[in-house]
């Protein structure tokens, strides 16, 4: 496991350290607020929080070049924020608003931000892997020096899509880094119950691929390894697996209390390694930051502004229900025209909904 004591770490610009800490705090604060809003029934569907995984998320994203691409699983809020999507656009998406980052069509699991190369949070376990390999294929095919970062949970490594994706990336030398967030539990199933080889990074060897494991609670360690692997992908078209050992403090989703399969003591023990606390303390110790409260307050304010923005944002117009199913105008018109006893009746459905609208 690559572990770097902070004192030994390459000297980062203090301002960079501070900014990454701010992003971690924002992500934590955003998650806490999302849970609150979910419980107040302002957010629906599934809502997967990543509290505890901030160092791995922010550390890896900090190593992306501006034009690199990112695919993730459905545990996606932290990635959007780390990539620079505004908290307002993310919260508006959770609220189902037209001004959300997926225009209220995606929700918590399907955030996206094409301007920042974030090509989606995806809801089917391991389903995003072949897509990320395809994006890396485009880079190779068109001779662009850009890397693709593909996030997945450790529960995704027992699907066929994992095997097929790593094989294709390996056999065609595609510039993709598979970052496995090993938070120990796939829902409530521990990694050693699910995987015959629970040390996930070792599986890369089956594809003659570099596989590394890193302490995912150590921001700078994650940055070092992710930076190295992304550079190898970008510049040498070397795919790899990066396993981040991390932990989620909350349940699988907001609907899961998270205590059926683990003890409170275990969670408390893990919290002693809380990456936000640890890194904040290090910044104070090293004199980079005087007052963490100020940063926390600013994050709270940003999140409050995001909630205000989302509350005020308009819901998508109901008559836009059938928009974006297809890209071309002609097909859209054809579907709209086919109402009488025929195709898809979207116009009728919209009419019904408008009549029944509150």
């Amino acid at each position: 496991m690559a572990t770097l004591a902070l004192a030994d770490a390459p000297m980062l610009d203090p301002q960079v350290r501070k900014r990454l800490y701010e992003t971690m705090v924002l992500s934590r604060t955003f998650g806490t607020e999302a849970e609150r809003q979910y419980k107040a029934a302002r957010i629906g569907g599934y809502c997967h929080l990543s509290s505890g995984q901030e160092a791995a998320t922010v550390g890896a994203c900090s190593q992306l070049a501006d034009d690199d691409l990112l695919f993730t699983s459905y545990r996606s809020h932290g990635f959007a924020l780390a990539r620079g999507t505004s908290p307002g656009a993310v919260m508006a998406e959770l609220f189902g608003r037209e001004e959300g980052c997926a225009r209220g069509r995606g929700g918590s699991m399907h955030l996206a931000d094409t301007e920042r190369g974030y090509l989606g949070g995806w809801g089917i376990v391991a389903g995003q892997l072949p897509l990320a390999v395809g994006a890396a294929f485009t880079m190779a095919q068109t001779g662009q020096q850009r890397a693709v970062l593909c996030e997945l949970g450790e529960g995704a490594v027992n699907l066929g899509a994992w095997h097929e994706s790593l094989n294709l990336a390996g056999v065609w030398d595609l510039p993709v880094v598979f970052i496995v967030m090993n938070n120990v539990y796939g829902m409530g199933t521990t990694v050693d119950k699910a995987s015959a080889e629970p040390e996930v990074h070792k599986r890369a060897a089956a594809f003659q691929m570099v596989g590394e494991r890193v302490d995912g609670q150590d921001l700078e360690a994650v940055m070092e390894v992710a930076g190295r692997l992304l550079t190898a992908a970008r510049e040498e078209r070397k795919p790899s697996v990066l396993e981040c050992m991390t932990y989620r403090y909350r349940g699988h989703s907001v609907a899961d209390a998270g205590f059926a399969y683990r003890t409170k003591e275990e969670i408390e023990e893990e919290r002693e390694r809380d990456p936000v606390v640890t890194f904040g303390k290090a910044l104070v110790d090293r004199g980079v930051v005087d007052d963490l409260d100020e940063i926390r307050e600013r994050a709270a304010q940003q999140v409050q502004e995001a909630v205000d923005f989302a509350e005020e944002a308009a819901a998508p117009p109901v008559d836009s229900l059938a928009r974006h199913v297809y890209g071309d105008e002609k097909t859209a018109q054809q579907f709209a025209r086919m109402t009488k006893g025929s195709p898809f009746g979207e116009a009728e459905l919209v009419l019904d909904m408008e009549l029944g609208d509150d």
């Binding site: 997926a102 995606g106 989606g120 897509l131 390999v133 395809g134 095919q141 071309d328 025929s342």
Partner: protein, 344 residues
């Protein structure tokens, strides 16, 4: 018949050659286009559709994939999201089942789920079909499964001209299109426009044969069967109109309804199982859209509801043969369904 044909000439070719011509022209015209699939390179494709293309365009544009349908279909989806125009060959449609998650849960959802911000100009082409004792796992026709899904387009040509025209239209389309080919159709010949910009618009059916007494609604190889049956019906002084749907999603109900309004009777035929199938969908829509025009309930003919057996006599009994369609037409018209079918 071919909607954007110009004054330029035509060439006689079979469906296989027409598909190859479409791929060749689009590879030459647009460097974003690439082919990917199993054995499509030096092996020239399991059914030889891609013959010669590997030699002409090289291993990057004609990408030989390992046996890994979920992997390379999903790879194509990701490539389409990021600016390329992949054309996936699935050796037969039966093999796409292991990649269904990538087609239905990913390709079909992308544009909508991300609010129109990301597109997926993807083509998947694969043959359906039965009739050579290929048995249960290799004789299926489930284009209806794909046509069920919003976000996908599904086309199923029946002629050489439409094979070329629809495949070219699919490659130029900005959304995922499933091009359903058919094994027995590959050798069918027809006139194909030479014009490199000839396409068949997606979503427009074709009146394959005009008639007054009833409408046979078909697609893909069933269209060929329906035209044979229509010829035989002529001897019984029955004048059948045949609609070749060409596109299953979007579906051109206007052409179908116009025909049924004229003939007042409809029979829907397909190669797949009728239960919850393409013919079920057509029957429901015709019944609703043409209720006042119909003189009889809509009739349906498809594959027998069994996994395809091996024995030749059992296979024959399972296929939606011309004689079954012929008998069903006679029954629909109140004629003696026992009238003898003679092979043409």
């Amino acid at each position: 018949m071919t909607d954007t044909a110009t004054e330029q000439g035509t060439t006689t070719m079979n469906v296989r050659e027409a598909l190859r011509a479409a791929l060749q022209e689009e590879l030459a015209a647009d460097e974003r286009v690439f082919l990917i699939g199993e054995e499509i390179g030096v092996f020239e494709g399991s059914y030889k559709v891609t013959a010669g293309l590997f030699e002409e365009f090289g291993p990057e544009r004609v990408r030989e994939a390992p046996i890994s349908e979920e992997g390379f279909t999903g790879l194509a989806v990701g490539a389409a999201m990021t600016g390329l125009r992949p054309v996936v060959e699935i050796m037969t449609l039966n093999f796409i089942l292991v990649a269904m998650d990538q087609v239905v849960n990913h390709a079909a959802k992308i544009r909508y789920m991300f609010g129109g911000e990301i597109g997926c100009p993807l083509v998947i082409r694969a043959p359906n079909g039965a009739g050579n004792q290929l048995t249960a796992q290799h004789s299926q026709s489930f284009e209806g499964w794909f046509a069920h899904v919003p976000g996908l387009k599904v086309v199923a040509p029946a002629t050489a001209a439409d094979a070329k025209g629809l495949l070219k239209a699919a490659i130029r389309d900005d959304d995922p299109v499933i091009v359903v080919e058919n094994l027995p159709l590959y050798k069918e010949k027809g006139e194909v426009p030479d014009d490199a910009d000839f396409t068949t618009p997606i979503g427009e059916a074709r009146v394959a044969r005009e008639g007054a007494d009833l409408t046979i609604v078909a697609h893909s190889f069933s269209t060929v069967r329906a035209l044979h049956v229509a010829e035989r019906l002529e001897e019984e002084e029955i004048d059948a109109e045949v609609i070749d749907l060409r596109s299953l999603r979007p579906l051109d109900m206007e052409t179908v309804a116009k025909s049924v309004a004229k003939t007042n009777r409809a029979i829907c035929v397909e190669e797949g199982w009728p239960t919850y199938g393409v013919s079920a969908e057509l029957a429901a829509r015709i019944s609703s859209a043409c209720f006042d025009d119909l003189d009889a309930p809509v009739s349906r003919v498809g594959m027998a509801e069994v996994p395809m057996p091996y024995a030749k006599n059992l296979e024959n009994a399972t296929l939606p043969h011309e004689r079954k369609l012929f008998a069903a037409v006679l029954e629909l018209l109140g004629e003696d369904p026992g009238t003898e079918w003679r092979e043409g």
